[in-house]
Amino acid sequence: MDMDAFYASVEQRDHSELQGKPVVIGADPKEGQGRGVVCAASYEARKYGIHSAQPISRAFRLCPHAVFMPVRMDYYVSVSRKLMEIFKRYTPLVETVSLDEAFLDLTGTLRLMGSAEETGLRIKTEIRHEQGLTASIGIAPNKLLAKIASDLKKPDGFVVVDHNRIGEFLNPLPIRRIWGVGAKIEKQLNELNIRTIGDLSRFSIEELKSRFGRHGEVLKHLSRGEDDSPVVPERNAKSISNEITFEKDESDRLCCLNILLWLSEKVAFRMRSHRIKGKTVVLKIRDCDFTTWTKHHTLVFPTDATDTIYQTVQKLFENNHSTRPIRLLGVGMTQLSRTDGDQTDLFKDDKQEKINRAMDKLKNKYGECIVLRGKTN
């Protein structure tokens, strides 16, 4: 399930005068002088080339007559909660990816609720009736296919992938539709004359492996629509992690550390918002030839503190003596538990905790990009 232009649609729903108009949610454009970014854009605004994460000044230049609105994050959170309530009527197995995106496992609900298609249509209808919003839904045998299907006919899409016709469904699609295929891999695949998922699936594992290393095997499976990752509700998660693939392989140590700080904050924020703590910190690195490794460090006491996670990740990173440029970095926490207490420390005041709490408040109110951590060295 993927909501259509979620933040913008919520604003258009609440302000009928905005319907059909280009709406941009984000920082104040200040007549083109603003320095923030676009958080979301309505479909009307997207026609002008405006998209999220774009500098707001650029968006203003592309479409000065668009309606620019500030982010009302706490409000979108509350709308998102209501969507979750609708999903929970049909299955307890809801994995929230973000405020406007979720996976639902309907495997066990057929008898009770009818076929997945029926349930999907009902959810779509309930979202429209109760929330006045449109969602795009993809129904498929696994998460990979469901994600592709939900993106296919946006907005207000509804795509069902028949498990007997996976090839028919996937083969004509461009390779960019696959998870983990970004501009860079796409270019490499294009060099091999691979343009569609069908082209990719015709390559043998060996050929792909020789070109992409272990990732080649993954690509092969994905190209055949194979994915066995389970739908995991966050409260049962075994690990929480965030990762990022660089647009260009990165060799600069300081730049990597900055990214690791940012990822640590993301992971810590998610743990804090779910009242979960983790004991083992995991660093994931994938270098330019797709060699991937992870390093772990188990702490003495579970934590959800950004600075503790970052310091540990930094140590793990600095013990890595490989000089190869890095393609992907990830930070994760495992050994999770729901805890209702914090071990206090003789030599640490609660300054860091207060900072975390203040940052979380801002993020819950204005969105995750409102406040960032910086380093002085």
Binding site: V300, P302, S337, D345, F347
Partner: protein, 376 residues
């Protein structure tokens, strides 16, 4: 090198150094033991570069002096599995050692002495003499609180302070602290302080005699313990030890006195039902009554016990790591333990009800802040 030694004499010596030799090292030579034989004695040495330990043993018969490094694991296992019989060691020109008993022979390749790291020399060392029993007591009352968290390296050791009129030891990992002071101690020179790694403390505890004195030699980076026929050298932990006196609360005004073994048994039972990751237990204090509870939200476990204590202040709810509580109680010699408290987020001071003569022993335990108290 050629000598004959009794199996049990050699085994005893090997066991004295066994705690130091790493079983697997990125520097393979460290997995060996250095044998050095002079006209009177066999010296064996093991090291992990942080700590080295050398011990002497007298063979039954010395025929030719010499030295060689031999693989620690196979030699120790072999000697351990022999009965108490004489064992002959003989080194040939190809650096092989043949070990012969009346039951057969065993041959092993040795490594030249030159490849084994030299013993660190303690140039310009100061000497200190301490009583064995005092050092043993102070070590064993503090070592449990040493930090294993690499994020704060200075806390990864026992802090020893030798002052003109007292001898102190402190260890803390930030969650608990143990401090012991002997005030009968006299030292003629200016104060000395150092941070000793816990592994060295453990080995020292194993080698300290019940009675008598021990000589310590100290220089900038290292400390040497000179036991009867064993010397233990350790590098000291670098860094500055934090000002621990500053974090010891002076105004804890509420007092709970409790039977040590009773509380220990209670906490042990209740903590079986606490989260395996946090070991969190809750102390609910009321007039002369203490309830200890736990719950594990992840597996749905729960426990609660009550016991009588002496307490005459306002009711309080405190969270603790059960393992820290048990560690602390284990180190109290007295039947009665005194907790002094201030509030649920302040360190508790724990002491035996009566102190030994010339001794002041106290421990601190930091609470777990319970979520209901988060915004106080």
């Amino acid at each position: 090198m050629k000598f004959t030694i009794l199996q049990n004499d050699l085994l005893e010596a090997l066991q004295r150094i066994s705690g130091v030799v790493p079983t697997r090292s990125t520097t393979p030579i460290l997995e060996n033991i250095l044998f050095e034989l002079d006209e009177e004695k066999l010296k064996i040495t093991g090291t992990d570069l942080e700590i080295s330990i050398t011990t002497g043993v007298t063979p039954k018969k010395i025929e030719q002096t010499g030295s060689i490094a031999l693989p620690a694991r196979v030699i120790t296992e072999m000697i351990r599995s022999l009965p108490a019989i004489p064992v002959q060691f003989e080194l040939d020109e190809t650096k092989r050692v043949r070990i012969t008993t009346d039951q057969g022979y065993y041959q092993v390749a040795g490594i030249s002495r030159n490849e084994f790291p030299d013993n660190p020399s303690l140039s310009e060392a100061r000497s200190i003499e301490l009583k064995n029993d005092l050092l043993r007591r102070m070590f064993s009352k503090t070592i449990f609180a040493v930090s294993s968290e690499e994020l704060r390296p200075a806390l990864m050791g026992v802090y020893m302070q030798i002052m003109p009129d007292e001898f102190r030891m402190v260890a803390t990992d930030g969650h608990r602290l143990s401090k012991i002071i002997d005030s009968s101690f006299r030292f003629d020179e200016a104060g000395i302080q150092m941070i000793i790694p816990p592994k060295a403390v453990q080995i020292a505890l194993k080698n300290l005699n019940e009675e008598g004195n021990i000589k310590l030699q100290l220089n900038q980076g290292g400390l040497c313990f000179i036991f009867d026929n064993t010397t233990l050298y350790t590098r000291l932990v670098e860094g500055e030890y934090p000002d621990y006196e500053k974090v010891i609360p002076r105004d804890n005004d509420k007092k709970m006195v409790v039977d040590r073994s009773l509380l220990m048994a209670t906490v042990k039972r209740v903590s079986l039902f606490s989260s395996a990751l946090t070991h969190q237990v809750r102390f609910s204090l009321s007039q002369n009554r203490l309830a200890v509870c736990s719950e594990d939200a992840d597996i749905g476990g729960e426990a609660r016990e009550e016991l009588n204590v002496e307490y005459n202040d306002e009711p309080m709810e405190l969270g603790y790591n059960a393992q820290y509580i048990l560690d602390i109680l284990k180190h109290v010699d007295d039947d009665k333990v005194v907790f002094t408290l201030k509030n649920p987020v302040r360190a508790a001071v724990v002491k035996p009800l009566s102190q030994k003569e010339n001794e002041s022993f106290m421990m601190l335990i930091m609470p777990i802040k319970l979520n209901s108290q988060e915004h106080q």
